[in-house]
Structures are given as C-alpha cells and as structure tokens.
C-alpha cells in the first residue's frame, strides 16, 4: 500500500482505460468476426498493460503475476480458441446487426456518457482510488451490453461478454488491486471455464443449425 497515488500515474491509468473503451467501440462496428476477435486481443493487451502500470505504481508485486496470467489467458488462449472455432465453421461475416453502424455507435456513445456520469455523480473522493477510471470502466461495461444486444450471432455475443469482463477487470484493477491474488486468479480461472462452456455451446449450435446466427434461436417463448 502506498497511500496517495500521484496524479501522473492516475493519468496513465485513465489513458489505458480509454484505450480499452475505444477498442470496445471498434468491436461494435467491426463487420468481420475475425477482426472482432483481434480487437478483443488488443483490448485484453491494454488491460494487461494496465495491470503492469498498477503493479509498478502501487508496488503490488502480486499484480505482476496477475498481468502475466491475464495476458496468457485473454491475449493468447481466448482469441486462439475463438479463431479456431471460426476456422472450423468457415463463417466470416458477422450476422446482420440490428442497427446500422452509425446508429449503434450513437447508442453506444449515449450509454457510455450515461455510465461515465452515473459513477461521477456518486461523489466519492477517495484519496486511494481514482474515480475516473472506474467511470470509464462502467462505460466499457455498458457498451459491451449494447454490442451483445445489437449483434445477432453467437460469436459477437460471446465476444461482447468477454469484453464486458475486460471492463470489469479494469474496475477491479484500479479499485481492488489489493484483493488477494488467490481471488483474482480464481476470477481468471472462472473466465477460462466460461470460455470453454461458451465454445461448447457455440459448436453444438453450429452443428445443429449450420449457422452462427441467433435468428434461429427464437422458438422458445411464452
């Protein structure tokens, strides 16, 4: 624990968080599923960088280990699992989005502004923790929701969920860097298990309906 965090490092954290938010917007408009997976890898890389920054500035040695784990899992394993799935199913274009690129970007802008100011309006000024990064993180989470809602194929929706998790990771890095390493590692392990389960269900879906689109998944209602 270092007590007061100098404003310069808080600035670095904010910059990285904004990079994550920007990649989230890029994912929202990426038409190719492969490019969406690449953008996710890039976003995860930014999150791992943030972990290194946090570890260096707050002298939390644990967090270096976390950065390594998060790099291995989110930059290497998850994208390669998804790429292999895409190669096997030979589908490349994302399913039609429910809104055009411009409209969905506007919606995403709206919700991210909302998220940013909603956290800002809490008026919690802690000397230990940067509220701005938390606000950006909540904007990432909300844009991920927009992505999941507006895309109608299983890969985009899964990538949306994984990037939602990236948004929560930023929040947890800046707010809860002091969480015990065992807990943080369990979070990551959990994500790994979730990725496997998502992958299995996606394959089953593709095996049955020969498509990645969710348009077929509308039989259960009432």
């Amino acid at each position: 624990m270092t007590g007061h965090v100098p404003s310069a490092t808080a600035g670095t954290e904010d910059v990285v968080a904004v990079v994550v938010l920007l990649t989230e917007f890029a994912m929202l408009r990426a038409p190719l599923l492969r490019s969406q997976v690449r953008l996710y890898a890039l976003q995860s890389l930014a999150v791992s960088v943030l972990a290194v920054v946090v570890a260096a500035t707050r002298h939390e040695a644990d967090v270096y280990a976390l950065a390594g784990l998060s790099f291995a899992l989110k930059v290497v394993i998850v994208p390669s699992v998804m790429t292999r799935l895409l190669r096997d199913v030979e589908v490349d274009l994302a399913g039609s989005a429910k809104l055009g690129v411009a409209s969905s970007t506007l919606v995403a802008l709206g919700v991210s502004v909302f998220g940013f100011f909603a956290i800002g309006s809490l008026h919690v000024h802690s000397s230990l923790l940067p509220s701005t990064t938390l606000a950006v993180a909540s904007a990432v989470v909300l844009v991920a929701f927009v992505l999941i809602v507006l895309r109608s194929d299983v890969v985009s929706q899964a990538m949306g969920f994984f990037s939602l998790e990236n948004g929560v990771s930023i929040a947890s890095l800046v707010v809860a860097a002091g969480l015990p390493l065992v807990v943080e590692t369990t979070f990551l392990f959990d994500l790994l298990v979730a990725v496997v389960a998502f992958g299995i269900i996606m394959r089953v879906h593709h095996g049955r309906s020969k498509t990645l689109s969710t348009d077929e998944l509308d039989r259960l209602r009432g």
């Binding site: 624990m1 707050r58 939390e60 809490l122 008026h123 919690v124 802690s126 230990l128 923790l129 938390l134 909540s138 989470v141 991920a144 929701f145 999941i148 299983v154 929706q157 899964a158 969920f161 939602l164 998790e165 929560v168 929040a171 947890s172 707010v175 809860a176 860097a177 002091g178 969480l179 015990p180 807990v183 369990t186 979070f187 959990d190 298990v193 979730a194 496997v196 389960a197 998502f198 299995i200 269900i201 996606m202 089953v204 879906h205 049955r208 309906s209 969710t214 077929e216 998944l217 509308d218 039989r219 259960l220 009432g222």
Partner: protein
C-alpha cells in the same frame, strides 16, 4: 465441526471427478450416497450453529445460521435428485449412453458442489466465483440433450446469466471500493468484516452496490425483468437438472442477495434495500401470476411458479420484520422440497406420455398412480395449500406484512398468490385428474383407482416409470409435510437465529 465444512466443500467435487472415470452404474450409487452424506453433514451443523452462532474452518470457510438454511435446502435436493436420476435416466448400454451418463453425473455432482460451496465461503468474491461456476456447469447440463431447443435454452441461459453475473462482479468490486474508505487498499472481502465496518461505508456507493447486486444475482434468481432465461432453461433441461435449477440454484442466488442485504442494511439502514426488493418482488409476482394463467407446457408452468416464489421471497424480505424473515427462510426450504418434487413428477409424466403439452397429459394420475398423485400434491403445495410447508411459510410472510404494517402490499401478495393458485391448480387438476377422452367410461365416473386412462390417441399403459422416482418424490412430500405440520425444534431455532442475523427493525 470445522472438518464438516471441509468435507462438504471437497466431497461432491471428488465424486463429480470420479463419476467421469468410473462406469455409469457406479455413479448411480455414488451420487445418492454423496447427496445423503452432504444432507447428513448439513443437519449435523445445525446444533452447533444454533448454540455457538457460527462454525469456521480456516480463514475462508464459515457458516452461520443463514448459510446452514441454504445448505440444508441444497443438500436435500442434491440427495433427492440423485435418487431420482437413478430411475429417470434410461441409458443405453452403447457408447453414446455411457458418454451421456458420465457427462450427466459429473455435471450433476459438480453443479451441486458449486451450489454447496456458495454458502460455505465467507469471502464475497469467492461467493461470486462459486455462483459463476454454477452457471457454467448448469448451462452445459441444460444443453446436454443436444436438441435444437435445448441448445437455444442453453445459449440464452449462459449469455444472460453471465451478463447478470458481470453486473454482480461489478457490485462485488464496488463493495470493495466502499470498504477501502474504512479498511485501506488491501483487505479480504469477508462478509463478517464488511458487516463490522459497514456503518462507516459511503451510503451512495452502497446503494449503487445493492442495486447492482440485486440486478446481477437477481438475474440468476429469476427476478422480473431479468428472468427471461429461466422458463427456457427450466423447461428444456433434463428434469433432474430442472429440479436443481429451480429448487437450489435460485435459492443460492437469493443467498448472495441476502448477504448484500445485510451489509447494505448496516450501511444505509434497511429502508432502501427493502424498497428495492419490494419493486423486484412485486414485478416478479405479478408477471408470473399472469403467465401461470395461460401456460400450457407443464415444465414452463413450474418455471413460472419459480418466478412467482422468488417474488414472494423478495417481498417477504421487504417487510423487514423477524416474523417475515423466518417465513422467507422456511419458504426457501419448503420451495426446494416442493419444486423438486414437482419437477420429478413432471419428469415422470413426460417420460410416460412423451410430451410436455398439458393438453396431452390427460389421465396422468390414472396412468401413474403414485408419482401422478404426488405431482398433484406438490402442485397444491406450491399453491400454498395446507398441510404443506409453503402454507406455513407464506402465512408467516403475510403475517409479517400485516405487523409491519404494510397492509397494501400484503393484500396484493395474497391476491396475486391466489391468481397463481388458480393458474397452477386449475391446469394441473384439469389434466392430471381427468380421464383420457378415449376412455368414455372413466370420463363418466372420474378417475377411479386402477382404471387406465389414455392420453389423446396414444395408448398409455398403467404403471410407474421407476420405483426410484417414487422414492425421490416421497422424500420431497415427507419434507413438505414435516415443514408444514411440525417444524423440528432445532430447525425452528435455526430459522430464528438466521432471521435475527438478517436484522430487523424490531
């Protein structure tokens, strides 16, 4: 007693791992034994928790009266479901049957392990992890049949529940954020510690935390408007999994909400969290009651009944008096027994008639004299008819509401519960108790004992699907009667302790 916690958190997982390796015939025995052991160990915890307040093992495992209530509900259903599965699964001796059986039993045990681990851990971050594991495992179990609709249900379930849990994780982190103002930047997120420091947490952060926690864990609990995965997953999963989802998983998520309720009530006073739960509870109860009136699919009907009961739990918490809290916790136990039994019965009926459409299930009691009648009994129990446990618990909740006093809410609760009662009991008795149209003599005299009814054009022979199904359902009915007629003294003390842990205004 600490060793009991360790065994509870290790045994089901080991059995799950073992089930993947040993022949399915061995798993059929292992799972009920493990379930019975878990239930016995949970019962063994009751006296020491009542006398000493809590039991701990190491720094991460801790149970108090509240946790033990949920352990009892989950372990009972683990046991009953394992017994039911032995009769329900008709696995061929070929490779496909073996593969299915191994996956099923490994999943069943690991699913129960995660649900048992949730109330055992004291760290709220680990609680989140346990609940996320339940999502992943149960989504795979929902998809296990591999049909188009099972895949659809599993996809909706894993996506919506994971998004909900993403919000719950945000709530966990915000709670940590609130705690840093008291404990500094590095500490463990145990609920004991949070409760001790909560009065100094910033109130706006705690309010946001609670809303996010209810929204996040409420997604898994099936609160309206984030319940949308629930009817699909419950109806498309194999019946043993439906029973666990409805009776134990929803309760486990409710447990998480109760922990946030405790901390938030300590930080901001209980009015705010009670009002949040009131809104979600009323919405759930109202929507579920309306859907119950027009539901024609047996398992979807039971799923909406779960939404209804989760709404009743949330409303019960909103009354904020000890009487209502005791009712809520008793309701958790009774709902587990009733919904488990009902889904077992639905599984039996579906296996017999080959459909879930209630119009085709005419003459169910005639064809299945034991499981059919116990299914009707379980549905009547779910409608809160005496002498079953849910009557007692809903009575306590409503009395709590009248003493709060929130006459309006209590009246709405009773009114909507009546509507659900109508929907549930009308459609069930209409189909199960009437004779099949192809048998005019039976139709004329009603269902006489021993007469075989037929469903639609399909001839159905009389006789149970399996004795194990009857045994599992009898376990549930016995528990419901016990909770309704005479609550054991130790259990009654446990519920009182747990209700006091939830706090109250008087």
């Amino acid at each position: 007693m600490g060793a009991v916690l360790v065994v509870l958190v290790v045994l089901p997982f080991l059995v799950g791992a073992l089930s993947y390796a040993v022949p399915v015939a061995a798993s059929k025995v292992l799972a009920p034994v493990s379930g019975a052991a878990a239930f016995a160990l949970s019962i063994a915890l009751v006296p020491s928790v009542v006398s000493r307040g809590h039991v701990t093992a190491g720094s991460e495992l801790r149970v108090d009266a509240l946790s033990v209530v949920f352990l009892l509900a989950t372990s009972f259903l683990y046991f009953a479901t394992a017994v039911f599965s032995a009769g329900y699964l008709h696995l061929g001796r070929d490779a496909a049957g073996t593969r299915y059986g191994r996956r099923f039993y490994a999943g069943l045990n690991v699913f129960c392990w995660a649900m048992l681990a949730a109330p055992l851990v004291s760290d709220l971050a680990l609680l989140w992890v346990a609940i996320e594991v339940t999502t992943v495992v149960s989504a795979l179990l929902v998809a296990i049949d591999g049909t188009q609709s099972a895949t659809e249900a599993a996809w909706k379930y894993i996506l919506i529940a994971s998004m909900g849990l993403g919000i719950a994780l945000l709530a966990t982190i915000l709670l940590y954020y609130a705690g840093t103002s008291v404990f500094g930047a590095g500490y463990e997120l145990s609920y004991v510690k949070m409760l001790a420091g909560a009065h100094r947490f910033p109130a706006p952060v705690m309010r946001l935390t609670f809303v996010l926690a209810v929204l996040g864990y409420g997604t898994k609990m099936g609160l309206v408007p984030v319940h949308t995965w629930l009817p699909d997953a419950h109806s498309e999963a194999p019946s043993p999994i439906s029973a666990l989802l409805s009776g134990a998983l929803l309760a486990t998520s409710f447990y998480a909400i109760l922990r946030y309720f405790q901390v938030t009530a300590a930080a901001t006073g209980s009015t705010f969290p009670r009002n949040v739960l009131l809104v979600f509870g009323l919405a759930s109860l109202a929507l579920a009651a309306l859907y119950l009136l027009r539901q024609r699919d047996m398992k979807r009907m039971l799923a909406y009944s779960s939404v209804e009961h989760m709404g009743i739990l949330a409303i019960g918490m909103s009354f904020g008096v000890t009487l209502a809290f005791v009712g809520v916790l008793l309701h958790v136990l009774a709902h587990a027994a009733a919904k488990g039994t009902a889904f077992f019965g639905a599984g039996s009926v579906v296996a017999k008639f080959g459909t879930k459409d209630m119009a085709a299930l005419r003459g169910g009691v005639g064809a299945l004299p034991w499981s059919g009648s116990m299914l009707v009994a379980a549905v009547l129990a779910l409608s809160a008819l005496p002498p079953f446990g849910l009557f007692r618990s809903e009575f306590l909740i409503v009395s709590g509401g009248l003493s709060d006093p929130r006459y309006g809410v209590a009246a709405v609760l009773v009114g909507l519960a009546m509507v659900s009662f109508l929907g549930l009991s009308w459609s069930t008795t209409q189909t199960m108790l009437t004779a099949g149209p192809a048998d005019p003599e039976a139709a004329a005299v009603g269902v006489a004992a021993g007469r075989v009814a037929t469903g639609g054009s399909r001839a159905v022979t009389k006789g149970e699907v399996s004795p194990w199904i009857v045994v599992a359902m009898a376990l549930g009915i016995a528990a419901l009667l016990l909770l309704g007629v005479h609550v054991p003294a130790d259990l009654s003390r446990l519920l009182d302790h747990a209700a006091h842990e939830l706090g109250s205004r008087r």
